[in-house]
Symmetry: D2
Subunit: 336 residues, 4 copies
Amino acid sequence: MVLNVGVIGTGNIGSDHVRRLATQVSGARVAALFDVDGERAGAVADRVGARVHSQAADVIEDIQVDAVVIASPGDTHADLVLACVAADKPVLCEKPLATTVESALKVLEAEVAHGRRLTRVGFMRRHDPGYRAVKVAVDDGSVGEPLLMHCVHRNASVPAGFTSDMSLTDSVIHEIDAARWLLGDEIVAATVVAVRPSPLATNGMRDPQLVLLETAGGAVVDVEVFLHCQYGYDVRCEVVGANGTVSLDTPTTGALTRSGRREQAVPEDWRVRFAPAYLDELQQWVDGVASGNGGGGGSSAWDGYAATAVAQACVASLSSGARTAVGLVDRPTLYA
Amino acid sequence: MVLNVGVIGTGNIGSDHVRRLATQVSGARVAALFDVDGERAGAVADRVGARVHSQAADVIEDIQVDAVVIASPGDTHADLVLACVAADKPVLCEKPLATTVESALKVLEAEVAHGRRLTRVGFMRRHDPGYRAVKVAVDDGSVGEPLLMHCVHRNASVPAGFTSDMSLTDSVIHEIDAARWLLGDEIVAATVVAVRPSPLATNGMRDPQLVLLETAGGAVVDVEVFLHCQYGYDVRCEVVGANGTVSLDTPTTGALTRSGRREQAVPEDWRVRFAPAYLDELQQWVDGVASGNGGGGGSSAWDGYAATAVAQACVASLSSGARTAVGLVDRPTLYA
Amino acid sequence: MVLNVGVIGTGNIGSDHVRRLATQVSGARVAALFDVDGERAGAVADRVGARVHSQAADVIEDIQVDAVVIASPGDTHADLVLACVAADKPVLCEKPLATTVESALKVLEAEVAHGRRLTRVGFMRRHDPGYRAVKVAVDDGSVGEPLLMHCVHRNASVPAGFTSDMSLTDSVIHEIDAARWLLGDEIVAATVVAVRPSPLATNGMRDPQLVLLETAGGAVVDVEVFLHCQYGYDVRCEVVGANGTVSLDTPTTGALTRSGRREQAVPEDWRVRFAPAYLDELQQWVDGVASGNGGGGGSSAWDGYAATAVAQACVASLSSGARTAVGLVDRPTLYA
Amino acid sequence: MVLNVGVIGTGNIGSDHVRRLATQVSGARVAALFDVDGERAGAVADRVGARVHSQAADVIEDIQVDAVVIASPGDTHADLVLACVAADKPVLCEKPLATTVESALKVLEAEVAHGRRLTRVGFMRRHDPGYRAVKVAVDDGSVGEPLLMHCVHRNASVPAGFTSDMSLTDSVIHEIDAARWLLGDEIVAATVVAVRPSPLATNGMRDPQLVLLETAGGAVVDVEVFLHCQYGYDVRCEVVGANGTVSLDTPTTGALTRSGRREQAVPEDWRVRFAPAYLDELQQWVDGVASGNGGGGGSSAWDGYAATAVAQACVASLSSGARTAVGLVDRPTLYA
Ligand SMILES: [Mg+2]
Ligand SMILES: [Mg+2]
Ligand SMILES: [Mg+2]
Ligand SMILES: [Mg+2]
């Protein structure tokens, strides 16, 4: 039994997902796809023998499509997920689930009304071996009760057009999800601290930023997001518990020693750093869908909603300069 | 176009290969398989929808089998590879290519007579990202002319029945191939140095052993092989060049700090350590066969022959206590 | 020429200083000392052949004392330093210079009136090889313009009687000085963020705390202070610049690999971690005094005043929960 | 009570010792010194207020000299130590104790006849915190019975005039002593393995060399010595036991991350790397002499003799190309 997957959006990450589904993920094939750039869609489809549709909705409604991957621009996500729920098709939606809290809520409500979880949000870090080791150490009590979490999220640079808000909604949102997942706790407030911008930041971006997140239980998470750090892609995380700490290692392959220095390479970008995580995410999703459970271990529509709500509070705090409370609706029993 | 692979031997590594071919490798399926334990063969075949044959030869001769993976016991390898060559079918043979120099030579001669390279030997380390980074640093001149190579090869323990000779023919053979490949040089002599055996070594094994390999160009490789090190699986390698060195890192995911210690986990065994390498090896082979080149980048029958010859020199040295020259035949132009 | 040093306070750190001055520091001897516990003073004095005085003031006024080390409780520091200035004697005062901004200002004013710098504050981290390497990398432009600084300051535990305020005035004050020194910038605001206290924190302490410091130039420093971390003494620091970062390594001597783990020891306490820094601090001070410059490279009364002012802002912020501005007087030209 | 030390030889290491004794070591002063270069001797003496003698023997016989440090060229050591024994004065002799086995034996015999241990050989690694941590782990059973030891000894370069033999007698001799000390075992055979010389090695030196040392108990030590490695000073050591291993860390202060690389500095030379060890060595010696025990914890004349004997076996092996047995005399009870 092969799962027929439809893919909406075949830009950077979408075409990566198509390639993985076609060549590395077991039990799946790409049956159909759509992109606003028809030529790009055609080229990607040719490589994997998929049908090209002229509208995103057609992918979802395609009778031969069993499940959908959404990798189109973020502001299209919520409506597409709603269509998937309406069509009763499992969907893996790239983060964010929605760009507004309101639209995220609509997805929640639709899924609750539908009575079954169909949505998974593409927070791939939950599938990274390093993050999983942190999760194990937190959950098995190795570090004691978690009190603090320190995060660093750096890119060498970001494309033109990237804004200060996007640092929060597109980058920090990964730490938001990771913190909720690792600490097993909701985030109730966010504060963005103004930092002197790097002279190398483009577009007048506020970069770096320092974000503080507070959980319901009183743990505090600090996140440095710095998207023009120049030197490479660097994601770090340390959870500080009452009697120990656990932290990620940056994956390295080896060391070169010469000219008075021992050197280890830093990953170039997130594709290099998280390639195994993306693959595991897709495989777990395909396996989960195939076994009828919607893809265990990943993040639900609730997780997507909560992350969007926290990211929006960060945006508000960036604008106001003040600590901003995050008001979540009650968690539906579907997501208990 | 899907490559139909036949697999001979479905023990530990064979069933791993079947699983990978069926679920992770793109462009391949397991069409047929054989194992001396028919029940085991049947169970593995059921999981992937493969045919079971009652003899190894039938797998090779199966008209629906395009290429063959050999993962049966080492002393069966040479004859099976010969049969693949006779049948003009590409073959990925787990190391060793042969257990005697004579039978390895027969494979060489058959392939030379056949006039086309069909054989690839499963030295998976050539596909490990760490080893590849070492290779790049050696080849691009980052460390200068290579002079020395230090290797460590440790297992927590080995199964009952493992012998002192097998430390050389089954374990050190990986370092033999890695040294030849990384240094781009043939090994011309081997010396096994007697070390006090660990009191925890079973079966009266000489364990650890220290092996010295000399290359034609005068570089020296030392290898510690220690198969009852108790603490985990640990493979290290450092190439020392005229103006720098390059070394492997042991892959780690993170660090746990508690009770006065910062701790990083050591891989449990070779499956954990080299899982990505095995997968890459199979994918490269499948891609290579599909594109008609027999699987570029891996080790040839010549490499398998040379490794067997060096391993046999090690065995002779272990027995005699003396430095033992390795006499290789001239390299046929097929392997130039 | 040997510098005759008088030491006031021979508790933990004071007796350490006496021992160092007597046995490890070149060009100095301990001529006289005082402690409120006369018996303790006598025992320490016997070991080094020093005179014991019955009052702190007598040490300062002792005609045979060339320079003074103050290691008595913090609330006695300012008056003792004032007495040293009045006596025109160089003084190394353990941090803090003063426990109130007002008394710190009195020291400043006295020294300015005196017209010559006599005071050095014992911020030993400026003498740690790791911190100095960070300083070099910041100053030589290796990391570009500094934008952020992340600090961690953890003790396994603190003595009974240690309070939440003392986390700021006795522990974080080290980071305050380090940040000012490394970034070459004054701190203009402080915010203490409430974190869920560790269940293992004693005395109802707020522990850990997260402190944000903002510099005049817009750089932001975050400090985790956690004084019941259980596992050891852990001080870290990373300065993030516009094109790179530089961070401390925790000094280690080696690694033990066993039972599936590679382990490195964490220093037990600050004495172990900063022993070489304390020694260098004393030697530099003695050399500086001997050469008539008051001990170059260390922190001045201005540094001690600024650190006290920032620490007091932290205490105010802990109490109010609000960001608290630090109002410094104009820097006298004596400290330009 | 201050120990009056006489120093013979004020070249690189001798003048370092003078400086340390004068400024960093407690309980000692440099009373007298000698160097073949009288001008150099005078300059060094001036800095520390020592008397200059016109002959080495005069330093030893100086009635105001309590103990002697020998840092003159290696071939003068044995005779000077003999003179110290004759004068009943404790002596710290830089390695080697002697340049021939015969002269080392004479020292042994003289000391045995004298009936009291006066000689300590300057193997400073026994005072390095890293080596000491390895010693503790071996002695407390953390790694189980030691079976193998891997050593690396690299210098960026060596002065003109340094020879292949000196690699063994001046450099590897440190590993010889370290191995004997760490493993608690005598070395009974040595083999020097020919390695292709680095094209950057000067003076036609065989560099690098690979040395194998076998202990009486059957443990094997391999030593890479490479004195033109270009990149810095790098000393490593790993002891492999039956159930774990323990290794040195190279001391580092921090990491600089920029341009795709995380970099840590390698020490420039042995002075940087082992400065704390040299200081501890001198202090322990001074304390030991002062307390009448001759300086506990360091290496005795027996250790110096054994190291010389092993180094000479290495030289013989380098010349003959063969494994060379080390024949030690019976250990006198004075060194039990
Ligand atoms: Mg994602
Ligand atoms: Mg293999
Ligand atoms: Mg201090
Ligand atoms: Mg020495």
